[in-house]
Assembly symmetry: C2
Homo-oligomer: 103 residues x 2
């Protein structure tokens, strides 16, 4: 199983609309990726390691797929639709990481 983590950096000028993300963007992702998408998790950053410090990421979305190939095949035909919706909920460029789920 692989996990695609889409991490939205926090910052003084950054904006992230969690309601839109949960209510519109994630449903769009589910609808377009279909059965290839094996799971979704969403987190909102609260803080860093030191008490009172800011989080590195304002929000993170995790998408699970059977393999990197399954992700690429499902995502490619809908890349424009999905990435075109991003400015509707944030003004920051997300950092994307693909990981192997070990546990």
């Amino acid at each position: 199983m692989i996990k695609v983590s889409v991490m939205y950096p926090a910052g003084a000028d950054s904006r992230f609309d969690m309601d839109y993300y949960l209510g519109t963007h994630i449903p769009l992702v589910r609808r377009t990726l279909g059965a290839a998408l094996k799971g979704v998790a969403v987190e909102q950053g609260l803080g860093g390691g030191e008490p009172g410090s800011p989080p590195t990421y304002a929000a993170v979305g995790h998408l699970l797929f059977d393999s990197v190939e399954a992700f690429q095949e499902a995502f490619a035909p809908h890349a424009g639709t999905i990435t075109g919706d991003v400015p509707n909920y944030t003004n920051v460029e997300p950092t994307l990481q693909i990981s192997e789920v070990k546990l």
Copy 2:
């Protein structure tokens, strides 16, 4: 539910022993944090968003707790034991983020 994500940056000189992490460090974390720890997930970075690009993090460990307070209370008495084991599997300083689980 909150998630504590411990993210180990990838880099040319960075070292991360996944076998030790899964076989020794995570069991130590489970043993010391006890029932306050509601779940554990571990990922190994494969790549970034662009094909062939490196991952931001070599590895990420996620720990679930009922609340920030539950995490702090469980972690504080064992902080030295847990952080003291880190040099046994990596030479990088992890970035820590506390997040609220939204989905």
